[in-house]
């Protein structure tokens, strides 16, 4: 088992295999779509064939008369309910009300005895539309006279966010070189393999829903609001989750509301499973964005100022978009020293599907622009891209101009490791053959972990000691596939000195588990981990009192290790942990001893309006080398190698940190060169996994992850973010490698073979 010495630990730093590996590999694991209840109905949603249209009339009478149909609903059944991330931006109804705003938006829904009958009934619903002119490009949408998507935002600006620190004009004046470029990031989607699905039951206990969510407590609140029930009447039970990556799975979908409503109407459990086509047509995507970036640099590479203007395609509703805008700017002042910074971000309504969160949320756009522009300027100034990064990289402790405080930073260490790596040192010695040219690119980025946008988004843990010395662990945190259940269990077992199999973690059931914000913003290990650690310490403290009595020592001198307990300095007196559990349970307050812990780190306030302060609990730093081969004739690219030097502080489970980096960098590779939704007036033409080209295992390069160890006091055991950094570092290093191979700078993602081939042809002409 891979092991990294990160301190005096028994389990932390070891690549403990995932605790759910067996279930997942054998298929025993049940996902939402696998669940069946007796008497269950199927819910299907009728979707708009137009991107922008008034709804004149909906005739559901024929659908209702079809044998096997139990209920039909439209927007009016939701009585004006709309949801959204912030109270002031709740603009999305479960089903379209007066008008549809994007192709595929839900218009009506059916509950029937089986899936086929429900689908047949959809065809019997007659909707009269009056088509409206649509707007599909965010820059077009900002123009005077553009079609208006929402009346409450007549200028189509869904949200704007501005930062202004130092004096950028002064900074540009001090520079020897100033560049302005237009960058663009692509229309991409999370690409989880498990579609949104749920089975809902309404009865006198309230709502019970088994739902595929990475953040079950979002839908928990949305359902309480939609159906006007108290939170303790909402029970979200979380099956295994087949991938999240933000967006859809940490939000609600129309099916959630419709299936609950149908259960209320019929008294029967109601299930829905989205088809992959529905996911690709209608679910949350990463915002595609245009970034106008301006940077000032001295001859020696010192960055003097940066100014960015970002225009993001928000699609038809606001969703979590305001947070996306905040994230495009709030850590642009990292990972390089930046004395002057100005940022203006605009989220624009269009008649496209909704833009929302996705792994590397917000940061992917602006970091891509800044990294590439930095390389372009280094080239102009004749500077080495490695040296320019080493020159500007921050060192901890550090406070950015917008008061983000950094207590640990492994960027320089990482860059120095990459500098010595053969892939970098030997990049110019490569023997390029005639058809293929190759290049190596580099990037350096920061990402926040333990994201905490509101005070209430912290975590709690409850541990229950069984009398045989095993432990039940209740958390509201969700393992959407990232392996957090394994890491959290390691933490609890480590603190109690137990083997990993002595601790049993339960999946979320909101009726029983403590509330939690969910899995996003790389927050689980930091925040749920802190709660787990504290709950374990609390349990240990109670147990130590019994042990101390046994040996007549202070309870603080009791050591818990290797499933044993002993007084410090008297390891020969050790008794099994099991024995102490028995003593405590049989002689003390009862058969159960409960440990409780809350997360408390990083609750300093920060300014969401102005972009000041720490939205993360701690910050990771990733630097990446990527080697790409380019076919000179066809423009076909093959990524052969990625070296990722990742400072996650302390890798509690090195194997999981590596696999997170691998997954994220390959996902980033997809967004750099493969993935793109082809749109025609709001309609997605490649709404399936065959035509939307996500990289698969065969497209993955050799990936080497170098652990850069740092020591951050703000997170438990010093464990920072792992996985969002590499999806930020991956695209610029890929594009930089393509430039290294071809001499061409590409500024719009994805950089497809077509684009490269055309550019190479143009270049030849020159």
């Amino acid at each position: 088992m891979e092991e990294i010495n990160i301190g005096d630990y028994s389990l932390l730093g070891k690549s403990i295999p995932r605790i759910d590996a067996y279930e997942k590999v054998t298929g025993e694991a049940k996902y939402a779509a696998d669940i069946e209840l007796p008497g269950m109905l199927w819910c299907k949603i009728l979707r708009s064939p137009l991107p922008h249209a008034k709804i004149l009339n909906i005739d559901i009478s024929r659908a209702k008369r079809l044998t096997g149909v139990k209920a039909v609903c439209t927007a009016k059944d939701f009585k004006g309910f709309r949801w959204g991330w912030m109270p002031i931006t709740r603009d999305e109804p479960p089903l379209a009300e007066d008008k549809v705003r994007f192709y595929g938006e839900g218009v009506a829904a059916v509950a029937a005895i089986d899936e086929e009958t429900a689908e047949e009934a959809l065809e019997l619903i007659k909707v009269d539309y009056e088509e409206l002119p649509g707007v599909f490009d965010p820059e077009e949408a900002l123009k005077e006279g553009a079609p208006v998507v929402h009346d409450y935002r007549p200028n189509n600006i869904s949200w704007e966010f501005h930062m202004d620190f130092g004096d950028v004009e002064k900074g540009f004046k001090e520079a020897d070189l100033v560049r302005e470029d237009r960058f663009a990031t692509g229309r991409v989607i999370t690409g989880f393999l498990e579609p949104p699905a749920a089975i809902a039951l309404w009865n006198s206990s309230g709502i019970t829903i088994w739902a595929a969510k990475q953040s079950p407590y979002f839908v928990y609140r949305h359902l309480a609001q939609c159906f006007n029930l108290p939170l303790n009447k909402i029970r979200v039970i979380q099956p295994f989750v087949g991938g999240g990556f933000g967006g859809t799975k940490n939000d609600s979908v129309a099916g959630d509301f419709c299936s609950v409503l149908f259960s209320k109407m019929t008294g029967r459990p109601v299930k829905f499973v989205y088809k992959m086509e529905e996911v690709f047509l209608t679910c949350r995507r990463r915002h595609n964005a245009i970034i106008y970036n301006k940077m000032g640099m001295k001859k020696d590479g010192t960055i003097t100022a940066m100014q960015s203007r970002l225009i993001a395609d928000g699609g038809a509703y606001t969703a979590i978009g305001p947070l996306t805008m905040y994230l495009t700017g709030c850590i642009s002042t990292l990972p390089y020293k930046l004395p002057n910074f100005k940022h203006d971000a605009y989220r624009v309504f269009t008649n496209n599907p909704v833009g929302a969160a996705m792994r590397g949320h917000g940061v992917t756009h602006t970091r891509f622009a800044a990294e590439i522009q930095m390389d372009m300027m280094a080239e102009e100034l004749g500077l080495d891209p490695m040296e320019i990064r080493l020159k500007n990289a921050i060192e901890a402790p550090y406070e950015t101009i917008n008061k983000v405080t950094i207590f640990s930073c492994g960027l320089k260490d990482g860059l120095l490791k990459l500098k010595e790596h053969p892939l970098w040192k030997e990049r110019k010695k490569e023997n390029k053959d005639k058809e293929t040219i190759s290049g190596v690119g580099i990037s350096g980025v920061a990402y926040l972990g333990g994201a905490r946008q509101r005070g209430y988004q912290s975590c709690a843990a409850v541990l229950r000691l069984c009398e045989d010395g095993t432990v039940e662990y209740l958390t509201g945190a969700t393992d959407a596939g990232q392996g957090s259940d394994t890491v959290l269990t390691q933490i609890v077992a480590e603190e109690l000195g137990l083997s990993i199999d002595h601790v049993d973690i339960q999946r979320v059931d909101t009726a029983y588990t403590p509330c939690d914000a969910g899995s996003y913003g790389s927050r689980v290990t930091a925040l749920a981990g802190e709660a787990a650690m504290k709950a374990a310490k609390d349990l240990k403290r109670q147990l130590a009192e019994y042990a101390a009595k046994e040996w007549n020592v202070s309870s603080e001198d009791i050591v818990f290790k290797n499933n044993k307990v002993y007084p410090k300095h008297m390891p020969d007196k050790a008794i099994p942990f099991r024995k102490l559990a028995q003593i405590a349970c049989y002689s003390g307050v009862g058969a159960v001893i409960i440990g409780r812990g809350y997360s408390q780190y990083g609750i300093e306030p920060y300014d969401f309006e102005k972009g000041i302060g720490n939205a993360g609990t701690a910050y990771s730093f990733t630097s990446q080398l990527t080697r790409v081969e380019v076919d000179k004739e066809t423009g076909f690219t093959k990524c052969t190698d990625m070296i990722i030097a990742h400072d996650c502080g302390k890798p509690l489970n090195p194997g999981l940190v590596e696999s997170q980096n691998q997954g994220a960098s390959v996902q980033g590779l997809g967004q750099a060169i493969y993935e793109e939704f082809v749109m025609d007036r709001g309609r997605t033409l490649n709404a399936n996994l065959a035509d939307y080209k996500m990289p698969t295992a065969v497209d993955a390069p050799n990936i080497e992850v170098i652990h850069i160890l740092t020591d951050d006091p703000k997170v438990p055991y010093g464990a920072k973010e792992a996985s969002e950094g590499a999806i930020v570092s991956s695209p610029p290093s890929v594009i930089s490698a393509i430039h290294d191979a071809t001499g061409i700078w590409f500024k719009e993602l994805p950089v497809t073979p077509e684009k490269i081939a055309l550019a190479l042809r143009e270049k030849k002409k020159e």
Copy 2:
């Protein structure tokens, strides 16, 4: 709503309707037998047609070959596992091993795709038996040369228990009258309407079982032992429970083990539902017992000594029998002053079904004997049965000769209330017609509540505050129908100053809820109630800190009342509780605040071997008047009235206390005059609800419950036992009433019309 002022409370003392009434009345409530899982198999058990026999061979080959049969098991698949209440008396295998010991004992089991196929397969199993002589009467079983049921108990004494306090011989010498009588209690069963049922699933998470249990943590431990799994791999999920009353539902049944084993063998969920015939033939019963009672009394009615010898029919296995024996003696020193007491209890193995716990556990036998004997002696001495009770009744504080300490006692108050009751005062004035004679009987008893046989049998509670001010309440306590969920919810809501509907209690799920001993020994309100109260106080303490900050007062001065919170002396500053919850959740440690409480009352040690000390946390006192009409010709009895003066301390929900007393007194009526298993050499001939005559609503008399309020410091809010007292007080008052009507003393239960008619005929002859 009925209301009794028991203190300055908003909810306590009020007859809040049961919180699960709607589900139960509408049929929404799901019981174990209602649960279905996809791919589920049915488990059926082959039962012995002989009461005592060697098993020579079991041929399962034909059953295995039947289409639809997925697995067959016999004892050998359980590898010698046996269960029982005490480690040293674990003598019961899930299926009979070398021999069967009672008629209907499980011999083999089948899992098949449906119930019919499983039943058909049972017929294909061929068992070769060698019949052994059986023993069916406990007094016979004690004789030299009787057939031996278990080799490890060659004298057939399953368990014995002895108490000896003071000097009974001296006491008898001081008496003016000494009587010795032989009494007997009948063969009766709990008579719940929901049969034992469960659905079991074995997978890599361990065992999950949805089981009909009043004490889910018994089967939890049994399954861990049987299948050698740690406790955190055993998940017992508790559906609604349709009655318990001890015995079967707070123990495991063969079906539990077989269904789990079958799920392990097949990988599929496996269900069983006992037929009512199986319940009556094979499930736990109350021990039937013979009690030789000797009492000494002075002319003025003062009791000088009592000596009892009890011989109980234990049936084929030990089960919880040792506790039954303890309970037959431990509170025989209540409710009357008793300076000298000796008790010898013998639990005897026979080839009958197993004797175990039942409502009024143990005490019903010896109290019946003592109460009737007291009346007989009062009659001989020309004393009034009311006065003799008033004379001997203890008053709190009191310590019995075996060091049971009593802090509250409403016996005298109750007797005085009954003495003034028209039913008692006018009993001699009754105008008896010619065919029917009537009589009124009285009894006075004590019962323990908050039973706590071991240190580990205490309770815990976890409360989770939701950010909208509603509360989730996790407890390991089970509402088997007694209404405890309602009372526990009242406690939590009372402490937090909330309406009852703001608190949501969850049924037990051992993966999530704190461990609890279960519903027996009238322990839920006392012990789970204490834990609930403390958890609520703990939650309140945390919330009060936020409130105190708001108003700059001490957190101890914060009042929680009527869904509001305010500083003491400043009620006009009140804010909604909801608002404080939001402040705490949004500004503090997180979206969840957790309250935790353990029960701690009554953990003083007691001596189970010698019968010294308090096995209960507090003691209830019940006195009862019963009026019975007897048909002189047929002996047919009709109970017309019961007046129950019950000291439960403080009735937290008077309506529930009354309904518990009503149910228990009618169940006691059944045991006094109706219920009896007719046995033929170990075989129960009336194994169904038609032939086994339980009283129904139409047999119930008018019942008046008089609340006797006392103040016990050992239980939360002073709430003591309700329901077990009245099943103890009921039979002696009924039999005493029959004597009052007929002039005849009956000493063997049940006193059927046949017995009365015969006795009346004998009496006429005299």
